[in-house]
Amino acid sequence: MNIYETVIMEPFQKFYDKVIQFLPNFITSIFILIVGIALGFLLKIILSRLFTAIGLDKASEKSGTVELLKKGGVTEPFSALLSRIIGWITVIIFAGISLSALQIPSVETLFERFLLYLPNIFTALLILLFGYLLGNFFGRAALIASVNAGVRFSNLIGKFTKYLILILSGTMALEQLGIGKGTIVITFAIIFGGIVLALAIAFGLGGRGLAKDYLEKKIKSEEKKDEINHL
């Protein structure tokens, strides 16, 4: 009897006690998750309507965000996209809270770490987004300015400007995420310095004649200038 109680019943009793003890947390956790999903869904609908009402789609069209999203293959309205993102963030936050409601120490620690890391991910994403926007903007500005200045390799200048900003923002994003902190900055500095040095040598050696011609033209004013008064 004793053996039966010790070997069979006692573990079952303990398991039963633990289940009984855990059940309220589990139910609370499920409840929080359901509330989170419902709230996320509700927020998505309300915010979508609110954003449409305040003219967010038009504003995003003006700012060039729509153009950017289209390039990335996103065709749905900006208001719908933003409300969907906020809805999902709500669901994820509630999912985290529901996990911590389970009161399992290892899950709690993991969740705490995740929460602490979350702002880094968010900031890194923002840096990438701004980097992409700025890269496109300044790349195009550099291309147009150099075409108007009559520079033959305008396309190269435009692309160089764009990718330089993209690489810079990528480096900053990785730095923000704490991935290879010092290494990335040093790598970037070496690559960037290398490119500049390579260009300097290339232009110095390959463009000697060109530079000579250019300076001669500038100094001797050989090129026939327009005297058109455009206005």
Binding site: G64, V147, G158, K225, E227, I228, N229, H230, L231
Partner: protein, 419 residues
């Protein structure tokens, strides 16, 4: 009306003068070489044509470092007999002041309008400070229609070299005429006459932080006068010869400011231009005569090079708003030799209207959009130069008239795309 405060010395001078019948403003920036002649011409004009009136000359300067303001202060007509003047002359007043705000002609004009308003001037005029062909008669021609004929705005009419004023001839004149129905040949001429009433009206508009404060001021003044039903006329002033512009002046910035101001005005006066179907000539003052003009050097090869470079590199940007037909034409034109190169009126009008619609629909950053027009404008200018190589002034005017007609004919397409 926005708040505007004069410098203390300017306010004191305004208080001394109290009021004026006539005011002529000269905007300037490092024009020491030419402004003396302009001041003398204006002074002689006051003495010869308005001896009984209280006249004020205002120099609104952008911070010249070459002594422009000193020259204005120290220049006078000492020998009235040289301008065939024997009658009594009322004293005239001179006021020089640096303007504040965004550096540019528009900000200089704003200061002139404010002084005209403070002095309650009846008739005003503005003339460029780099003019070499201005005579005392310009003062009469710009002001008399306001003083005696009750006009509110007097636009200049000049004889210019066939390659001069290409932004005016290929964009601003035809589009203004097609949109607002008035044939004002030099809408951005730079020398205008206007009533005190119109100066006050200009000041009610809050545009002084926009491109209007820079090169956009001329088209803004003309369009505002026409669109608000002020009485508009033109005065024939003869030849317009002025100091050579700084060769380093950025064409794309100039083009951007003028075209941007024109497109902004299309937004402001949408209801006005959509209701206008045809254009009509207006009253013209002054005795018209032929004048000899200095030759203008052009470098066609360089212009065609710039056009081709633009087509090669900026095609992807234009793809977003230019019609397929125009893009196909540009592709073909890119490789053409000088002898075969031509951008027809129809294509040019399609290009300008497409840019207007793209700016209206905010297809991309406005500055990027309008600065990308520069190579196309250079191409059209090259095409015009080739076309008009052997043409006289009359034939060139006929060509411009033809372009204007196409702008008017295609206006319906613009209206369809606009909405």
């Amino acid at each position: 009306m926005t708040n505007f405060a004069f410098r203390k010395d300017v306010q004191t001078r305004i208080d001394e003068i109290r009021e004026a019948d006539i005011l002529v403003g000269i905007p300037s920036y490092n024009n020491a070489k030419t402004i003396g002649h302009v001041v003398k011409a204006v002074h002689a004009g006051f003495a010869k044509y308005f001896p009984e009136k209280k006249c004020v000359l205002v120099n609104s300067d952008g911070g010249s470092t070459d002594g422009t303001m000193d020259i204005v202060q120290n220049t006078t007509v000492e020998d009235y007999q040289s301008v065939l003047l024997s009658h009594r002359v009322s004293p005239f007043f001179k006021l020089t002041t640096p303007y504040h705000g965004i550096p540019g002609k528009g900000s200089a004009f704003r200061t002139i309008f404010e002084i005209a308003n403070a002095l309650d001037a009846k008739a005003c005029a503005v003339v460029d400070s780099d003019l070499r062909s201005i005579t005392p008669e310009w003062v009469e021609l710009l002001l008399k229609p306001v003083m005696d004929n009750d006009f509110d705005y007097v636009a200049p009419l000049y004889h210019r070299h066939k390659y001069d004023g290409t932004i005016t001839n290929s964009i601003v004149y035809p589009i203004t005429r097609a949109l607002y129905g008035k044939r004002i040949r030099q809408p951005i001429g730079g020398d205008f006459g206007f009533s005190g009433r119109l100066a006050k009206f200009y000041l009610t508009k809050d545009v002084w932080e926009t491109d209007v404060a820079r090169f956009g001021i001329d088209i803004w003044m003309t369009t505002t006068a026409i669109a608000n039903n002020f009485r508009v006329c033109q005065s024939f002033l003869g030849a317009k010869i002025h100091d050579a512009k700084d060769p380093g002046a950025d064409l794309s910035a100039m083009l951007y400011q003028v075209v941007s101001a024109t497109f902004d005005l299309m937004e402001t006066y949408g209801d006005v231009w959509k209701s206008i179907k045809v254009s009509e000539p207006g009253p013209v003052f002054g005795f018209q005569y032929a004048v000899g003009l200095e030759p203008v050097a052009v470098n066609l090869d360089r212009m065609l090079e710039r056009f081709s470079l633009g087509v090669r590199e900026l095609k992807d940007i234009w793809k977003e708003f230019l019609p397929q037909g125009v893009l196909a034409f540009l592709d073909k034109a890119e490789g053409l030799k000088k002898e075969e190169f031509n951008i027809p009126e129809e294509i040019w009008v399609e290009i300008i209207y497409s840019f207007a619609v793209a700016a209206h629909k905010k297809k991309m950053n406005r500055e990027h959009l309008l600065k990308s027009l520069t190579p196309l404008y250079i191409g059209r200018t090259a095409s015009f130069v080739i076309e008009a190589w052997n043409s006289d002034a009359q034939e060139v005017e006929e060509k411009i008239e033809r372009l204007c007609k196409v702008f008017e004919e295609k206006k319906t397409i613009l209206m369809e795309r606009w909405d």
